[in-house]
Homo-oligomer: 135 residues x 3
């Protein structure tokens, strides 16, 4: 089963999509298998991160945005705005696809793990993902 889903991001940062992905797994009826997720953009990405303390996500965003700075004189790809080239680099350093085993009808995530769509542009937008559930 393959399904497209769309998620409206409120802006730069990590946005929890665990429930959306689990809903597709539930819909598929699979009790065991593999759930693969792909984000169809190059200025947003995916990560599995700590779902407990929001400060961990805040620091992740702050560290990555300082490391991949806007306005770097190295950039030549600047016509789509100052947050565009950093977005592509951030996407390359994190993940565009993830594959999560399914056990007992649920994503086999650890207790403190959530799946996050990481928006790298300042302005949020409708982001498209494809979720595949296989045997």
């Amino acid at each position: 089963m393959t399904k497209r889903i769309s998620v409206q991001t409120p802006g730069q940062g990590l946005h929890d999509i665990t429930r959306c992905v689990q809903a597709v797994v539930g819909e598929s009826g699979a009790t065991e298998g593999l759930c693969s997720i792909m984000v169809q953009h190059t200025s947003a990405s995916l990560t599995i991160q700590e779902n407990a303390d929001p400060s961990a996500r805040h620091d992740l965003e702050a560290w990555l945005s300082r490391t991949v700075a806007e306005g770097d004189p190295l950039y030549t790809h600047t016509h789509e705005g100052p947050d565009d080239m950093p977005s592509h680099i951030k996407a390359a350093l994190t993940s565009t696809t993830l594959s999560i085993p399914i056990m007992d009808g649920r994503l086999a995530l650890g207790t403190w793990q959530g799946i996050y769509l990481w928006e790298h542009r300042h302005r949020g937008s409708a982001r498209h993902l494809v979720v595949h559930v296989g045997p």
Copy 2:
């Protein structure tokens, strides 16, 4: 087939888990297919790296630990110790899931590739992984 495995890490660094993963593939009886691995933690991660010269793994650890330094004044998520927030960032920069094709009953790794569980905390601990073998 989906199986949980646990690996005791001796401490920070890359620990070879190729044999553990290959053992699950062997147990599954699959001759061709896909083997997916997920680590159920956000302060440890996965990587496929050079399995020949230990100095490459040493330098990987040294480079990443210098780049994602402890005690960075940027961190607000500090209550779990100085190596906790760097661990989350290191996990985000490397991989939480990997999917490796199976050929002739074996992981189709290159000659110099091994699968590593990358412990980012100073103190080693029992780390849980889920291995899925699909068609």
Copy 3:
């Protein structure tokens, strides 16, 4: 279906392999499923990136090569040349495996996404990949 493919890289940088991978999907006859790709090297990697403006790929390479510099006194793994240890680090920071859903017989990539083999050595060479198409 699992197939080995080889790609000759012209040298350091991102090389588009979307057509090669789509050709394997076409050959498999799959209309829906999951396509997983693995590069069998630790000094080259994979990324899904913007396929429109070549300046984005240029800046990605420039940023990563500045961040993971050659000649860093930290390196002890130096006997294979100055571009070897940076190659391993760059591979660890990007991806060795990718899993892309298939819809209507095609890789479900976004409009601006291409699959790239990222050569990290100065000198190009024949790079081996394994492509798996599953249900």
